[in-house]
Amino acid sequence: MGILELQNVSLSLGGRPILNDLSVDFWEGHVHALIGPNGAGKSTLANTIMGLPGYRHIEGDIRLDGESIRDLPVDERARRGITLAWQEPARFEGLKVDRFIAAGAKDKGAACVREVLERVGLDPAKYAKRAVDRTLSGGERKRIELASILAMEPRIVLMDEPDSGIDVEALNRIFDALSDFKERGATVIMITHSQEVLRHAEHAFLMCNGHVLDKGSVEKIDGYFADRCILCDHENLPGADEEAGVVA
């Protein structure tokens, strides 16, 4: 059944429409992929579902378990089980990995921190007391962010380009985490341009100009995207979010 529904959602940033009357359902316990050209509105859609500042003033509605969440702030949406993994995870000067992971883990304690670090292939003895800062590589920060999400046990995970800027080992750990989320019944919505990542999805949605153009099996949607969408004369504007002055 649909756990998360977007009903006729429109959003303008800097006076420019980014999401246009978009309606879509996401299915509980399934892995969904959002694909489409740069500027299609994929990251904006993820940020809008998360309710980040700058993405809250929408037309239409977002419903979780049939209940509107459009007026809820980020933290309340998170407490209801939605979370987001950024394309480029934040750096936190001085904040230790164990404190960062524990922050979203409620009262699960140190054992949970160790367990999720091991699940993303990082040795707790080496990483728990390191700072989540620039001394970590992009791939390490991606894995630590993933560990923090595993500790949170969310119901809906939004992943913005999970394969961006990481090595093969880190990518394999992300695939393991995807399996983990699915086994636990979580719903995953991931934005990707990668064929390798796409293979782990069960459903795909093709976005263009703030619309969902089509949805269906990964093979069908990816085939459409590869054969027709890239060659079409769509009017997407890469970087529209940045031009509108919104920090994603």
Partner: protein
Amino acid sequence: MSAAAVAGELLASLGGFGGHISDDDVAHLEVHGNEVVGSHLVPGLEVEVDSLADGISAHIRLARGARIAKPVHLCFGLLPETGRQRIVMDVEVEEDAAASVIAHCTFPNAIDVTHEMDAVVRIAAGATYEYFERHLHGREGGVVVVPRTRVQLGEGARFKTEFELVKGRAGVIDFDYEVECAAESLLDMIARIWGRGSDKITICETGRLNGADARAVLQTHIAVQDEALAEVYNTLTASAAGARGHVDCKEIVQGGAVARAVPVVEVDHPRAHITHEAAIGSVDSKQLQTLMARGLDEERATDLIIEGLLS
């Protein structure tokens, strides 16, 4: 109250910071007001203390080549709500000696307390001296802290100092350190302070890299909230070949607080090099959103970010 009881109360006020002095190989000195209420020395360390009307004068000597294995613990404090404590300290670290000192300054009940430190530190060639000063203040913010320290670093000497005040209200802090660095010496100076309410924080850190290949890092991390004011004056000069330094000032500002950073970097040798970075502003929005996307409310997320910066 007996000296032992006062010492016990001082240490108890440190909470998680305390409990450090039970072993025979740990040197320690506890001073309440102008009275030494506890002490223990280890070989290689000499301490002479004279009582002043409003504090103490201490001469600390680390003998040549002495290596003090475990950190020396100092505890300065006042338990009453009002009063003044002045610490005059003369520290002599002789050649090739090494020690680490952890100083706790505790004023748990302060409403109107002044704590002054006038220190002269001479670190001879090849010696290492580390001084970590942790303050524990009450919730009222009624403490004026005035640490003034002058340090001479000999050739190849090392000096690391950390000043931390993140528990309780800062009150008024007027911090002034000056360090002269001879050839191949190393200076590492860090201050971490969290100001709240009407706290007023002034940090003056000066390092002079006078000798060839001397190195220094000055770091100041401050968070100010409410109506607190922070002013940071970092000065680092380099006047010899191979001298290198870095100045790093980060300040988080919230509410009606004000932060000001005035860095001065000066190089007058073509083979010397100093870098500088400063960042002042509110809590980083992406950090905040990341933690809120894990379910923390804005206040908890902000506190966690600040704790990280000040850790």
